[in-house]
């Protein structure tokens, strides 16, 4: 089913402006944020708290010769200086990553990227901790670095990971999926084949709040309370238990208000571990908050994929097959946060939204002397790279065939009757109806008029471009049997308690970084139980207060935790039926549900509201056998499949022929995320992602020089769109519910970040068509666009 109907507020609730359940609703978290009363990591102050700061390596590859901390320790306000040697004594110098590798907490043998952690100073205040870093004397023995991923596997390339016994090169993995022979057979006989190298440069999520932690270790009962900027508090607790040997029941992780995450706050960073060590060593709470340069230089980057793409089609424009060979730069440690069986994340959805005969890809991961990471920045586990590749290739094919890119897409979409659709790389798309979304975006854009305007402008020598992209995501990992992170299955729990007066508290395992979970999850309970969202508190971000689950990333909160919350509410509703029956002295099967109450079939006046039932459950009503005296429930939701949101995006750009400056004039985004819980929040998620897209397409890149110096280590060099670089977004939607999700919702958090970069780049390449440009790599800065216009387009890395 596809509709464009929005969920209306429920007038039966007596307040038509405030929905009981789904609909536009102001956020429950906003009153504290607009008053400046949020509690972010740096707002946490504990009695006696000390401050830590990290000394970082100034070079990319060097042997550590010596560290002298004498002077730093003599500073009157400095309490401790911790080095790799100290951590070795505690067996904490190396920690496991989220990808079955290890990462140095502090350098013991050699530096492997610029900005790597070398020493940790703990002092009485923030300024003194920084002073201490100036007093630490480190001697390095320089080594030649590996910066260009294309050279990482050269014979004789310096071996970065000589800490791993027997390692003789910089190869991390080779991974392939799809049928190579079948794909080759299709390519061999196709009318048209086009090939293009497509580079998705290294970028960074750069949330406004950097990463940080406050560690409070109680030596008397051995209990660790760790406040940290984490999107996955439960997974962190388990990992700390494994790494540090602190029993898991003695660890409490608190993730307070998070000032943006976008995947940057999934991993465990050395700074978090160092705050813990600092607290153990000093016996006092220790705060560590990184500065912006530390954030950009050392925490999880995103992308860095060099993709050789090929697409095969008939001369009539029927796309037959896609294949690609990818070189993936993972930096100095393989620390990508992704499911164990998916070393290239969910890149294998590079088959896109099209009905193909064959597909194949091979991904080679390599080490370089750069910061570790790779899966972040709202990428849905590398769906970003996949969508960018296929949507660029389809556009290049359209140019080759002299076909309109929208028409080419319409011709090749998977048809509604083909769902559930098994693609050639093992995914089963749950539901989709692509053509109406594409048509709606074209209608909103006035596509035909735009093409006419473009023709007129071209005759005048003006460069206007229209870019189209159509994406299908795979989000909501996932079925436990297929997806785990370091062995932890990707399911999520929810607990719901309805208090005697009918007010409720729902406890969830996922953690908001601004997505509005306190509102959305209250609305799900409200929809299922018929009590108003303001009567439902959402508790999250504290492992002592919430059930186990894997956290928020990969757009999984609504697909996984949203399912858990809907099901736990239904469990409460089912229990309420038995209690209502007892109260009404009838049989449960004689009762009928309407939003908010159970009533006797055929006698609507005889009924009990959830609040009445809750009081009954906690009161003196004689409860049926097997029914506990409360109105509580808990579930763990293991989704049967992922969900597959999709969308159609159209971008209009104007390029200054004299300077190469690109202006995004219009952007039309039609998204289908299945059932829509709060349209206001959905629109906000889309707007934010579109802005990410403008950033990546036009200005963002983490660049390095030949020696491995990071050239994008502050916001003066790592450019992010301001209000001046983005248009007033035009959004629309269709609704194709997920058939297997309890409420049909699919997830929306990353769709626009995934879908927008190809639309923008396609628009720019379209604008540059008079110059014969068929491809250019991001970021499309004025200088690079101008070079492309001169026939000198070059990859960014």
């Amino acid at each position: 089913m596809t509709t464009t109907q929005e969920h209306a507020p429920n007038p039966a609730a007596g307040d038509p402006g405030r929905p009981i359940g789904f609909g536009r609703l102001q956020r429950k978290e906003d009153p504290r944020f607009v008053r400046g009363k949020g509690t972010y990591i740096d707002d946490i102050v504990l009695p006696g708290m000390l401050h830590g700061a990290i000394l970082r390596a100034p070079v990319a590859h060097a042997r550590l010769v010596s560290i002298d901390t004498t002077e730093a320790l003599a500073h009157p306000k400095v309490l401790a200086v911790i080095t790799g040697k100290d951590l070795q004594a505690l067996n904490l110098a190396w920690a496991p990553t989220l990808s079955a590798d290890v990462q140095a907490v502090l350098v013991t043998d050699k530096v492997r990227f610029q900005g790597q952690e070398v020493a940790f100073a703990v002092a009485e205040d923030r300024y003194a901790a920084r002073d201490a870093l100036e007093l630490i004397d480190v001697e390095y023995d320089m080594l030649p670095p590996v910066i260009d991923a294309r050279r990482a596997l050269d014979p004789g390339a310096p071996v970065i990971r000589d800490d791993v016994e027997g390692r003789t090169d910089n190869r991390i993995f080779d991974w392939e999926i799809g049928d190579a022979a079948e794909t080759e057979a299709v390519f061999a006989t196709a009318d048209v084949v086009v090939a293009q190298e497509v580079v998705y440069p290294r970028v960074h999520p750069a949330p406004m709040e950097t990463c940080g932690a406050v560690a409070d270790f109680d030596p008397i009962d051995g209990r660790l309370t760790l406040y940290e900027t984490t999107q996955a508090p439960h997974a962190h607790r388990t990992l700390y238990a494994i790494v540090a040997g602190i029993p898991e029941h003695k660890i409490r992780i608190v993730s307070p208000d998070i000032g943006g995450g976008f995947g940057n706050k999934v991993g465990i960073y050395p700074g978090y571990v160092l705050a813990v060590v600092g607290s153990i060593v000093t016996g006092k709470p220790v705060k560590w908050v990184e500065d912006r340069s530390e954030n950009l230089m050392s925490t999880s980057f995103a992308r860095d994929y060099i993709m050789q793409g090929e697409i095969a089609a008939t001369k009539e424009g029927k796309i037959l097959a896609v294949r690609t060979n990818v070189l993936a730069d993972h930096g100095a440690f393989n620390a990508t946060a992704q499911p164990t069986k998916n070393p290239a994340g969910f890149f294998s959805i590079f088959t896109g939204s099209y009905d193909l005969q064959a597909a194949y890809c091979k991904v080679t991961g390599v080490y370089t002397n750069k910061a570790p990471g790779g899966v972040a920045y709202a990428c849905s586990f590398r769906v970003t790279e996949a969508v960018y590749l296929v949507e660029r290739m389809v556009d290049i094919l359209a140019r080759k065939l002299d076909m309109d890119p929208a028409e080419l897409r319409l011709k090749n979409f998977i048809k509604p009757e083909q769902f559930p659709y098994a693609n050639k790389t093992g995914w089963v798309y749950d539901s989709g109806n692509y053509e109406p979304a594409m048509r709606l975006s074209m209608q909103m854009a006035g596509y035909e008029d735009l093409r006419r305007e473009q023709l007129e402008k071209r005759e005048r020598g003006e460069l206007m471009g229209i870019g189209v992209s159509f994406f299908t995501e795979t989000v909501g990992a996932g079925p436990r049997k297929h997806f785990d992170i370091v062995g932890l299955g990707m399911a999520d729990g929810a607990e719901l308690r309805v208090h005697p007066t009918g007010k409720a508290v729902v406890r969830i395992s996922v953690q908001s970084q601004g997505q509005g979970h306190e509102t959305t999850f209250a609305q799900i309970v409200a929809e299922e139980l018929g009590i108003p969202p303001e009567s439902i508190d959402v508790v999250h971000g504290d492992t002592d207060q919430t059930p186990f689950g894997l956290g928020t990333y990969g757009s999984r909160s609504t697909p996984v935790s949203g399912g858990a919350v809907a099901l736990v509410a239904r469990k409460v509703r089912d229990k309420a039926r038995f209690i209502a029956a007892a109260m009404l002295e009838t049989r449960p099967e004689d009762l009928e549900w309407e939003k908010g109450r159970w009533f006797v079939k055929g006698d609507p006046s005889a009924g009990k509201t959830i609040a009445e039932i809750a009081f009954g459950a906690h009161g003196t009503v004689a409860l049926p056998e097997g029914i506990d005296g409360n109105l509580d429930a808990e579930v763990t939701y293991d989704p049967p499949n992922l969900t597959f949101p999709f969308g159609a995006y159209i971008c209009v750009v104007d390029v200054d022929a004299g300077t190469g400056h690109v202006k995004v004039r219009r952007f039309i985004a039609v998204d289908d995320c299945g059932t829509r819980i709060n349209p206001m929040i959905i629109e906000g998620q889309v707007h934010g992602g579109l802005t990410d897209g403008v950033g990546m397409a036009l200005m963002e890149i983490i660049a390095f020089d030949e020696e491995g110096n990071c050239l994008s280590s502050s916001f003066m060099d790592y450019l992010i769109p301001t209000a001046m670089e983005v248009p007033d977004w035009e959004t629309g939607f269709t609704v194709t519910p997920s058939p297997h999700h309890p409420i049909g919702a699919k997830g929306i958090g990353e769709s626009a970040t995934v879908g927008s970069p190809p639309a923008i780049v396609n628009a720019i390449v379209d604008a540059l068509a008079p110059y014969g440009v068929t491809h250019m790599d991001m970021p499309c800065t004025p200088a690079r666009v101008w070079e492309a216009m001169q026939g000198r387009a070059r990859p960014p890395v």
């Binding site: 102001q26 956020r27 509690t39 707002d43 934010g688 802005t691 209000a723």
Partner: protein, 178 residues
Amino acid sequence: MQISMTVNGDEVTREIEPRVLLVHFIRENLGLTGTHWGCDTSNCGTCVVLMDGQPVKSCTVLAAMADGHDIRTVEGLAAGGTLDPVQQGFMEEHGLQCGFCTPGMMLTARALLDRNPHPDDTEIRQAISGQICRCTGYATIVRSVQWAAAHPPGWDTETGAGTDDGGAGGAVAEEVTA
């Protein structure tokens, strides 16, 4: 050294190290954590406060430079429990998600509306162009400020009518010009 200033209408005097930044003075010496820090280089604007009614980036102002001046932070936006229309506007129009850039954005918006009560969208975008938001994509921030422009201090949320005598919010405007 000793410095004194007015912060949200209160006189404060503190002994500080000369090198202390205004953002750290506000957050750590005064405990007003609504002002955030984000970049060190004056690019992100999450640390914006009003100094004598003008937006300044408090990460690049020494606390000593604020000696004798009037500082207003997000904690000083609401007057007597009544939200500034800018605060209300951000809630009405979803002008915030993670909330981290929000205090700075709201203070800049307040300063803009004080000098230009009816800005067009471009003027709003220009006013906030020194500040970064990673969540909203800015359109809803523009709408939030327009909401505030359409509901000036004294707007009666019950009757939907504006009043000329300033009402609870009037005190806010006086505070800025004082």
